[in-house]
Structures are given as C-alpha cells and as structure tokens.
C-alpha cells in the first residue's frame, strides 16, 4: 500500500507521514494515528449524544410532571437532602478535575501522575456511590422506594400501607415545615390526614393553617401554596388542580398570604413549603410519582457512574501495564469524555431534584 494514498477526514489531516510500518496500536484500517484518534473521539461524541437523548426521556417525564403537578414536587422534594446533593456535586466535579488532569498526564507521558489521577477519579466515583447509598438508605427507612414499595402508593383510591403512609407524611411534613425557618413540626398524624377522599376545600386543615399563619407570621405561607405556585410556575395547566376558593375560610387564607407577601421576598424567608394537607386528594395520590421519577433519574445516573468506574478501573489496569504513552493515550481521553458526561448530567439533576422551589 502506497504512502501517498491519503485519507482526508473533516479535520484535514492529510500530510502526516506515518512510519513505514504501522505502529502497534494503529488499527490496520487507519492511515495515521491522528485519523484513528479523531475517529475514536467522533465515535464517543456520537455515543454521548445518544446518552443525552436517553436521559432526555427522563428529563421529559420530569418536566411534564413538574409542570403539571408543581406542588407534588414541592412536597416530595422535602424528603431529599440538599446538603448531600451538594456534597455529591462537589465530589463529582472533583473527580472530573482529576480525570481531566489524568488525560493531561497521559498526553505528557507522566506515568505515575496518570495512575494517581485515575485512582483519585475512581475514588471520586466510590465517594459518590457511598453518599448515594446513604441517601437511598434514608429513603428505604422511610419507605420511599418507588412503585409498590412506596408509602404513598395508592391502590383503587386507598393508601396501600396506611401506617407507612402516616409515618412518611410525618417525616416529610416535619422536614417541610421545620428546618431552617425554625417552625415546630406540624401536628401531623391524625386520621384526617389519611382520609384521602376529603376534597381539598373541605379539609379542616385549612382553617388550622390559616390560624397558623396568623400566629407566627414567620413566613408560613404554606397553606396558600397553590396560589403562589400558579403564580410562580405560570403553567396554565395548574389551574385545573386548584379549586376556586369556596368558603370564607379559603378567602381568609388567601388574604393571609397577601398580607405576608412582603415576607416572601426577604432573603431570610425559607421558600415555599407544602404540607400533606395542602395537596388536593388527586395530588396526594401522585406523590409516589415524584419518588418514581427521582429513583429512575438517580438510578440510571448511578448505573452510569458504576459503568464509568469500571471503565476507569480498566484504564488504570492498562496504564499500569504501560499501555499508554504520549503517542497513544486515546482510551484515556475517550474514557474521560464518558466520565465528564456523567458529571454533566448530574450538574442538571442536582438543581432539578434537590433545589426545587
């Protein structure tokens, strides 16, 4: 085969004279190492595009349920821990840094540094999975796993596990109303809460809440959340889930909100909080969907972290055997792209799941 015969890709490498015999790492159907390297990268990018669209389906499901059931999300997210989420973000970003550094080391032929960086990246993955494990454990303890395992699962209009449900409500209501704004845990429990068939505007809880707002004035604008939510998300569909104020009590609640409108915008106020009783009975039956979506998204992402870790372990093993040098480091670079994508997806998952307003 003549050396004159050139292949031109889009990146225009035509003039590279490769040594007369193919280097060992150069596959027979490529002309030059550059061509092989660029092909590998192109292939990886195309693959990453498929990953984006695959996760995209989940983002779509998320957008649709959040868009149409804002308060279900506001409620359910109370079970998540912002700080663990943020910590995991930092862990993953750090492992992305070490990965990028590892690629640099590989490009410069710094064997020891490469091994160190790959090891650190791997440990980043381990750290991420451990924290995820802690979080999942908390969900497990409160029966918040998806589908039929979920405390909020309803069957034929009735809660499947009334006791677990009561516990879960207490847990989430407590977190939603307590926490930073210093309010006490609402006197949840009570059979009234579980009486799913009581429509929203007949619920005795509303008066209770109205009083609450009156008492502490600390920004417990909770009870009127639907009104705020409509305003804040602006999706017309939300209207369907909101009953028009039917009783003087309702009107009172709305007034209370308006009274406290100023509080909303002050930096010290905790953002909108939703309690179980603020959900309409139809929405109460959809709370388990939040956990379904949460677990699908973080589960698929976690699976990708695991695959990435396997990839990095393999790279480490190859690097240890001295497979890479400054002329041949494509697998490190391409494996790195995959790892960065996993990070990139988490960058979106984090605010969408852990920082809900």
């Amino acid at each position: 085969m003549s050396n004159e015969q050139k292949h031109t890709g889009d990146t225009g490498h035509g003039d590279n004279h490769h040594p007369p015999d193919h280097p060992a790492h150069l596959a027979h159907h490529f002309e030059t190492p550059e061509q092989q390297f660029e092909s590998g990268k192109l292939g990886m990018w195309v693959f990453l595009a498929t990953e984006v669209l695959m996760f995209g389906g989940l983002f779509c499901a998320y957008a649709i349920y959040r868009g149409n059931h804002q308060d279900v999300f506001l409620y359910g997210y109370g079970a998540l821990d912002k700080m663990w989420g943020a910590t995991n973000t930092v862990v993953l970003l750090a492992s992305s840094l070490t990965m990028a550094w590892g690629v640099r080391a590989a490009q410069k032929g710094q064997q020891k540094l490469l091994l160190t960086m790959l090891f650190l990246t791997f440990m980043g993955g381990v750290g991420f999975m451990c924290i995820k494990g802690v979080e999942y454990k908390a969900k497990w303890d409160h029966n918040l796993f998806p589908g039929t395992m979920n405390a909020f699962y309803y069957e034929a209009g009735q809660p499947k596990y009334p006791e677990k449900l009561e516990h879960a409500i207490e847990f989430i209501d407590g977190r939603n109303s307590g926490g930073n704004s210093g309010g006490e845990v609402q006197g949840g429990g009570g059979h009234g809460l579980l009486d799913a068939d009581v429509p929203y505007d007949e619920s005795p809880a509303i008066e209770h809440d109205a009083q609450q707002v009156g008492h502490d004035g600390a920004g417990h604008i909770v009870s009127a959340s639907p009104v705020i939510l409509t305003a804040s998300f602006g999706a017309p569909a939300d209207m369907s889930t909101i009953k028009p104020p039917a009783s003087p009590a309702d009107m009172g609640v709305n007034d209370a909100v308006i009274d406290h409108a100023g509080v909303l915008t002050t930096p010290s106020a905790e953002h909108t909080q939703v309690l179980w009783r603020d959900l309409s009975s139809a929405e109460q039956k959809k709370v388990h969907l939040f956990f379904g979506i949460y677990f699908m998204m973080t589960g698929l992402h976690g699976l990708h972290v695991l695959i990435g870790m396997i990839l990095i372990a393999w790279l480490f093993w190859k690097a240890k055997k001295g497979a890479f040098n400054k002329d041949y480091f494509a697998p490190v670079d391409i494996g790195g792209l995959y790892w960065h994508l996993v990070d990139l997806i988490w960058i979106f998952l984090f605010p969408l799941l852990y920082l809900i307003h």
């Binding site: 390297f37 669209l53 995209g56 779509c60 957008a63 649709i64 992305s96 990028a100 909303l264 979106f348």
Partner: protein
Amino acid sequence: MNAHTNDDHGIGHVSPIWMLLGVFALLIFFTVMTVAVTYIDLGPANIWIALGVAVIKATLVGLYFMHLRYDSPFNSLILVCAFLFLALFIGIALMDTGEYQQNIGPPDTVRPVAG
C-alpha cells in the same frame, strides 16, 4: 517523528494545569452559588436561575474538561444537536400535556392495576 524531544507536540490539546484548576474553582463557585440562591425566594425566577447556572457549569465542563474548545467543531455540533432535539421533544410534549391535562381523570376513577 521528533515528538519525543518536543513537549507540546503530539495529538490533541494539552490543558495547562492553571486552566484545569481555574475551571474547577469556577465550577465550585457556581455550585455554592446555586445552593445559596435557594435561600432567597425569587418566585418563578428561581428555577430559571438554577437551570441557567447548570448550563454555565455544563458549558465549562464541555469546553475545557472535554476539550471541545480545542476540538473539531463537529464534535460540538453533535452535542448541540442532541440538546436541540431534546428541547424539541420536551417542548412539544410539555405543550401538549399542558393542554389536555384537565381531561385526565383522578386516579381512583380508573380501573385498578393488575398483576
């Protein structure tokens, strides 16, 4: 090939260490910021700020950690296309579900799940 004597010669772009660390610092800064913003209630702006920050972070990762800035532009095009098609998918589906949402009955009006 005289690549062995010349440090910067070779395939692909070699990122300087200051750049890697700088990008990382920015990423951490934005993470702290996006968490901090949640303590301020800005109404509908909150989610858009959170998403905006996420886009900035993602862009940083893409451009520098993933070398897109120094790569063949076609690779960036692939990523942008993926996001465009995703936006199309989510956009139309969201628009449509918003329109018909009121037609969906409450869960207990539907027959129970089998199996």
